[in-house]
Each structure stands twice: as structure tokens, then as C-alpha cells.
């Protein structure tokens, strides 16, 4: 008897465990939306609004607290055609290779005349220097206006979302809102983070 007990193997069958993990893995892979890499860190202010932003067809305008503006489009085809149109408008010619490179990264934010040079850099370098630029959005050189205009032309269903840092001075936001108003883009979203609705006591 004692011999038999000794012989019993300690093999644990991991098949069931593996089944579970694979299931979980599939779940996470299917439900996950990756955290988008943004050129600058932005802390949106809090609000009680509970509306969720849709997942697709977003044109987001990222505003850093110093007033630098970046944009992102979530569709590769949109980015491609936007740069093409921008190139035509500002008479900068982009090769198809440059267009492809541009369309691969969701975020962009360099002046159009520096774009060609910027696209020539390897992507690690790009991430480093993009935060020093930003799309010019002042009244003398309002490239942002054209980016938004051509984005709208590329995809009519785009929803505009402004994601700005809480400490951004109001004039910067006002300029962007005015730019959008000039383009007759009157409905847009302001991205915020959630805070609890305060109870309203009715005495």
C-alpha cells in the first residue's frame, strides 16, 4: 500500500487553467481599446456630464496648457487625404511614402512647412520633438482652421472633440472656438473627466 502512495505522480493538469486564461485573454483582446499615445500630457477638467464620447469618427483637438494645439484623427484614410489636401493648399508636395508615414500615426501637430522634414525623422525622434511644435492657430497663420476644414471634407461624419488642459488660459480656448465657429462647426464636444453629481437639496 505504502508503495502505491509514493508512486502517485504530482502532475497537475493545467489544461482547464489554460482554457480559462485563453478565454480571458480573448475577452481582453476583443474589448480593449488601447490607450492612445498623446504627444503631451493633458488633464481634462472634471464635470458631472455623463455622456460618453463615441469611439469612431473622432477628430480631437488637443490643447496643452501653454496653448500648443495638436490634432488627431482616428481613421488612416482620413489622415492620408487630409495631408494631401493640406499639401495642395500650402503647395508642399508630399511623396506617397511621406503620406503613408503620416497616416500611420494618429496624432499630428507640426507646422505644414516643417512637416516634410518632420516626416523624414525616425518615429522615436518625432515623439521627442513634436511637443515643441504644435499646429499654428493664431490669426495670422491659422493652419488649424485648414486642418479642420480639410478633415471635414475628407470625412463628413467626423465629430469634433476638444480635449484641453484645465489650466489652459481662456483666450486660447476662445480662439479655437472662434475658429470652429468660422467654419460653421457649431456642435462639438468638450472632453472632461467624471465627477459625482452633487445632491441638490430642495428646502
Amino acid at each position: 500500500m505504502s508503495k502505491k502512495v509514493k508512486k502517485q505522480s504530482t502532475f497537475i493538469d493545467m489544461t482547464a487553467m489554460s482554457d480559462v486564461t485563453v478565454l480571458l485573454l480573448t475577452f481582453f483582446m476583443l474589448t480593449s481599446t488601447f490607450i492612445q499615445k498623446e504627444p503631451v500630457q493633458v488633464n481634462p477638467p472634471q464635470s458631472v456630464s455623463e455622456i460618453k464620447i463615441p469611439e469612431t469618427n473622432i477628430m480631437s483637438i488637443l490643447v496643452e496648457k501653454d496653448g500648443k494645439v495638436f490634432m488627431s484623427l482616428d481613421k488612416q484614410t482620413d489622415r492620408w487625404s487630409v495631408l494631401e489636401k493640406m499639401g495642395e493648399f500650402y503647395s508642399v508636395e508630399f511623396t506617397s511614402e511621406e503620406l503613408k508615414k503620416f497616416s500611420l500615426a494618429p496624432n499630428f501637430g507640426v507646422p505644414i512647412h516643417g512637416m516634410k522634414q518632420f516626416l523624414g525623422l525616425p518615429s522615436e525622434e518625432q515623439d521627442k520633438i513634436i511637443m515643441d511644435y504644435g499646429i499654428p492657430s493664431d490669426s495670422t497663420n491659422n493652419e488649424l482652421k485648414n486642418w479642420v476644414k480639410f478633415s471635414r471634407e475628407a470625412n463628413a461624419e467626423l465629430i469634433i472633440a476638444i480635449k484641453a488642459d484645465g489650466t489652459t488660459p481662456y483666450p486660447v480656448i476662445r480662439d479655437i472656438m472662434n475658429t470652429l465657429q468660422d467654419l460653421r462647426e457649431n456642435r462639438y464636444n468638450l472632453i472632461t473627466s467624471l465627477r459625482d453629481m452633487p445632491a441638490i437639496l430642495n428646502d
Binding site: A161, T168, Y170, P198
Partner: protein, 223 residues
């Protein structure tokens, strides 16, 4: 499970190969899966960011006349000042008496109390509707439509939000937030007028206007 047992089929020529188990050890597989799960869990955003929908008036349509149509008795103007301070006045501004503009802030006892006081009727109706919804007397959809009707009632107050150059984006969002909390359906963001700045300057002497040097200094400081 992860093993295949070959039963001997009766032939007993080669005794050594007669019976053998194929164990597949799944432990490394599980290890790898766990790693991948951890990776995916850390890299995902489960909660989508919230958003606030606003619609601005079209620039070409809005004229001075339209803006002045608001009944004087129903109008509240909120001015966003420096350091997240809020100023408000009812009706038309009285430029000669800066005391008519009151200073407050975004706390529960600040601007919210004022707005709730002005919007009492709507808030009461909304609360009634909420109760009805909780008692399942009306559906969620009905609640939404009726609530928006109540909010856009002709007699509800109209709030003008005017931000000065010295306010931050956060103040604007806070102000818009108060509109939602206080159930104010009619509000607009509009440009600040020189008169408003003048009143603010007279009230606070914090360099809102006129003294250009002061304004520039303040801006440089905050940068």
C-alpha cells in the same frame, strides 16, 4: 485531459511500447497566457472619457438684437475672473455702481445657490419628474423629453457666461457644469464687453482693463 492513453490492442509483441502516456504539460502555456492577460489589462482603458456637448450659435446669424431679446428680469450674467473667482449680476449691468456685481466662487454655497434660487420652479419640477421616474410612473425616455421641456421653459432664467482673458478653461467647464447641476436649459457663452471689464476693474482693482500695463504684467506673471 492533456494526456493520451494508448490502450494495448492485444498485440503483445513489443512489450516496451505497449503502454505509454503522452502528457502535455500546460504550465508554460498558462504562464504565457497570464503574462499576456496582464499586458492587455494594463494597456487598456476600460472607461471612456466623458464629454460635454455644446452647440454654439452660428456667427453669421447672431446679431446684437437677438442677444438683447432676453428679458431683463430673467437674465443672469456670470463673469469669470482671475483665480477662479466668479462675478454675477442680474438683468442689465449698472456701470455706475460696481457694487451691483457680486463676487462669489464655484463652491456649493457660491454661484450654485444663486442659480438654484433663481431657478427654483424648474428645479422643483425636475425633482418631481425624477421622483416619478423612480416610482416607475414614467419611462426614462419620457423623463428626458419632459425634463428638457421644463428646462427650456419660457420663464426660466437665461444665463450668459462671459469669461475674461484671465480665466482658465477649467472655470468655463465649471460654469457649464453649474448649468447642468442647476438645470438651466437656456445659457450661452458670449464675449465679454468692455463695459463688463470696466465694472470688474472698478469692483476689484485687479487690472481687468484700462490700465494696459497692469494687464500685461499680470499676463507675464501667470506665464
Amino acid at each position: 485531459m492533456a494526456e493520451i492513453q494508448e490502450k494495448d490492442s492485444g498485440e503483445q509483441k513489443k512489450g516496451k511500447q505497449k503502454k505509454f502516456n503522452i502528457h502535455v504539460d500546460f504550465t508554460p502555456m498558462v504562464d504565457m497566457n497570464m503574462l499576456l492577460i496582464t499586458f492587455f489589462m494594463l494597456c487598456t482603458t476600460m472607461s471612456k472619457p466623458q464629454t460635454m456637448e455644446i452647440s454654439m450659435p452660428r456667427k453669421d446669424i447672431v446679431s446684437e438684437q437677438d442677444q438683447n431679446k432676453v428679458k431683463e428680469s430673467k437674465a443672469i450674467t456670470i463673469l469669470l475672473g482671475k483665480n477662479s473667482k466668479v462675478y454675477y449680476y442680474f438683468g442689465l449691468p449698472d456701470y455706475d455702481h460696481p457694487e451691483s456685481v457680486t463676487e462669489t466662487d464655484f463652491s456649493a454655497d457660491g454661484i450654485r445657490k444663486v442659480l438654484l434660487g433663481r431657478n427654483e420652479e424648474v428645479v422643483r419640477k425636475i425633482l418631481e419628474l425624477k421622483k416619478k421616474k423612480e416610482n416607475l410612473e414614467i419611462s426614462d425616455e419620457q423623463y428626458q423629453t419632459e425634463a428638457s421641456e421644463v428646462r427650456s421653459d419660457k420663464n426660466s432664467p437665461v444665463v450668459m457666461i462671459k469669461a475674461t482673458e484671465f480665466s482658465q478653461y477649467k472655470d468655463l467647464i465649471d460654469a457649464l457644469d453649474e448649468m447642468q447641476i442647476c438645470n438651466i436649459g437656456r445659457y450661452a457663452i458670449s464675449d465679454i464687453t468692455p463695459g463688463d471689464l470696466r465694472v470688474l476693474q472698478d469692483l476689484t482693482h485687479e487690472g481687468y482693463t484700462s490700465d494696459l500695463k497692469e494687464v500685461i504684467e499680470y499676463r507675464e506673471q501667470s506665464q
